[in-house]
Symmetry: C2
Subunit: 316 residues, 2 copies
C-alpha cells in the first residue's frame, strides 16, 4: 500500500523500535537516509539500528562513526532507498518478508513493504525523509542534516544531474542556513578526494574505456584482478560511473565492476534521452532514467556482449 506523509508520521510515532535496512553496496543516499532516520527516531524516543549487508565505506565515517545502534530483536522493520528486497543481501532472508515501512524514490519500487512512502520524483530518499521530518515538526540535528545533505548531494552528482529537483536545492539552502553543515568538506570527501590508487586508476581510464555501437555506448570494465593490482577496493570505484559518459557522443555508459563472487555489478548512465532504467529492467535490474543498474553473471566477454545487445535493442 502506498502511503503519504500523514500515515508515515503515524507509523513512526507509534513504532516501539526499528531496524532500518539499507541496500548492499551502500551509497551516500541509503547511508544518509538510514542514519538520518535513526536520528529522527531518536528524537521520538524510538530505539533503532541501521543494518547493511556490506560494511559502510570508510569515507562515510563522519555519518556512521557514532555507531549503527545496538543489536536487538526488532518489532519494526523499515527499508530506505531499496526498490527490491533482492538488494538487501543477507537481510532479504532475515527481514525481507516483513518490512512494514519502505521509504524510497525509485519508480521501479516493487511495493514489497506493508506501507510504501514512494516519491519517484524525489532526488534522493534523503529528500523525502527531510520533508517528512519537517512535516512531522521533529527536531533535525546537525548530524541528521549532514546525513540528509550527503544523500541528496551524492544521488544528484552534487546537483548536477537531471534528477536534481528544485526542492533538493531548497533543502540544501535550508540546511546551510539552519544547521551550519560543513557542506564543502562533505563534498570534498564525496566527490574530490581520492586515494593514490584511485588516482592511478583514473590515469588508466582511457585504456579501459571501450566504445561500441558507433561510440554511442562506452564500457569501462574493472575486474577483481585489476582492483588487486591497483590496490583499490570495489567501493572506491563507485564514483567512476559518470566517467563512462564523458565523451560528447556517448549516449549510454556502463561501469562493470566484478564482485568477489565473480558477478558483474553494472552501473548504467544515460547522457541524454535514453532511459537506462528501462534497459536495466529488461535484464533484471532497475533504477532511474539516467542512472540505473543490474548484475550480470558469466565471464567478462560474454557479459559485455550481453550488455551491448541490450543497449543496441534500446537504441533501435
Amino acid at each position: 500500500m502506498f502511503i503519504g506523509f500523514a500515515e508515515a508520521e503515524t507509523f513512526l510515532r507509534n513504532c516501539k523500535d526499528a531496524v532500518i535496512i539499507t541496500h548492499r553496496n551502500p551509497d551516500g543516499d541509503c547511508i544518509g537516509a538510514g542514519f538520518g532516520l535513526k536520528d529522527i527516531l531518536e528524537q521520538l524516543g524510538v530505539r533503532s539500528r541501521v543494518v547493511c549487508h556490506d560494511g559502510f565505506p570508510a569515507r562515510y565515517a563522519f555519518l556512521t562513526e557514532n555507531g549503527a545502534g545496538e543489536d536487538f530483536e526488532p518489532e519494526t522493520i523499515i527499508a530506505v532507498d531499496i526498490a527490491d528486497t533482492k538488494l538487501m543481501g543477507k537481510y532479504e532472508e532475515i527481514y525481507g518478508g516483513r518490512v512494514q515501512l519502505c521509504i524510497d524514490h525509485h519508480i521501479s519500487n516493487k511495493a514489497y513493504a506493508d506501507k510504501t512512502l514512494l516519491r519517484g520524483d524525489a532526488t534522493a530518499a534523503c529528500e523525502i525523509i527531510y520533508d517528512l521530518a519537517v512535516y512531522m515538526g521533529v527536531k533535525i540535528t546537525r548530524h541528521c542534516a549532514m546525513c540528509l545533505y550527503t544523500g541528496i548531494a551524492t544521488d544528484s552528482g552534487c546537483f548536477k544531474y537531471d534528477c536534481t529537483t528544485p526542492r533538493a536545492h531548497e533543502i540544501a539552502a535550508e540546511m546551510m542556513r539552519r544547521y551550519d553543515i560543513n557542506f564543502a568538506r562533505i563534498n570534498r570527501y564525496m566527490f574530490d578526494v581520492k586515494s593514490e590508487g584511485r588516482m592511478k586508476l583514473e590515469s588508466r581510464i582511457n585504456e579501459l574505456m571501450e566504445l561500441y555501437l558507433d561510440g554511442k555506448l562506452a564500457i569501462i570494465a574493472v575486474t577483481q584482478d585489476m582492483m588487486k593490482e591497483m590496490g583499490i577496493e570495489m567501493e572506491e570505484l563507485e564514483g567512476f560511473a559518470p566517467l563512462t559518459i564523458q565523451l560528447e557522443n556517448t549516449e549510454v555508459g556502463i561501469l562493470m565492476r566484478e564482485r568477489p563472487d565473480g558477478v558483474f555489478k553494472c552501473s548504467f548512465r544515460s547522457a541524454y534521452d535514453v532511459n537506462v532504467s528501462a534497459i536495466c529492467q529488461t535484464i533484471g535490474g532497475g533504477g532511474h532514467a539516467k542512472a540505473a543498474g543490474c548484475t550480470v553473471e558469466g565471464d567478462l566477454e560474454s557479459a559485455k556482449k550481453f550488455l551491448i545487445g541490450a543497449v543496441e535493442r534500446a537504441l533501435n
Copy 2:
C-alpha cells in the same frame, strides 16, 4: 564608490547604451554575467555589447550564439566579474579608465569604477545580477536564466565548494521552477563532457602532478609544448585546477598554464583552511579564499620555485 541595488537600478534604467566588459580567459561567470546583463538591458530598451579580450570558448556557445551585440561607440562602460582593470586585456587601455559601473563578487576588487556594486559573499557575479534583476522587477528570459545559472554553477563547482551560498541554491531552485532551464545539459557541458584530447591529458595528470612541502602543495604544470602535443587548447584546461587538490593531504594546489606569450597563468585552490587569495595577493594576483590566481613570468623551473616559496611562507 560602493553602491547598493537602488543606485544600480537607477544607473541601469538611465543609461542609453552600454559596453559590458568581461575578463580575459573568460569563464562561465563572466560570460554568464555579461550575456545575462545584456538580456536585462534589452528588456529595458538599452542597446549593449559584450566584449572580451579573448574569444568566448566554444562550449559556451549556447549562451553566446545570438551574438555579443553590434559594434558602436558607447556612452556607458560596465564591467562584470572583474576585480582589476588589468584583467581586461586590451580593453584596459580602451575603456579601463572610464568604467562607470562594476558588478563584482571578488573581495579583492580594486574599486576602479565610478560605482561598484560589490557583494564579496556572493557565489558569483551572476548571483548578484539575478538578485538585482529580481529587485528591479525586470523580466528574466529563459536565456538570461541559463546565463546566470551557468555562472553560479561554474563558480561554485556545481554547488560543491565553500563559496556556495544558500542564496545560490535558492536561485537555482527558482530558475528550475520558473524558467525550465535545461540545467543537466548545461552541467554536462560545463563539468563532464570533454574532448578525447582532454581525456588523454587526464590520464597524464598523475605523471604531471608534483608534490612539494611534504605533500601539502601539489603543482600541475602544463606548457604550450605539452598542449600542442596533446592537441588541446589552453581553455580546455580550465577545469583542471580542482584536480590539484584531489589528494587528501594536499592543502594547496596550483595549476600552472603557460600562455602563448610564455607567462604562466597560475590557478590556486585551497583544500581546507589556507587562504590562497592572500597568497596570490602577495605576488600580484587575487581572488577568493579557496580559489585564486596570479601570473608568473620566467622559465618553468624558476616559476615553480617562486610559487613553492610563496606557499611555504603562507603555511608557516
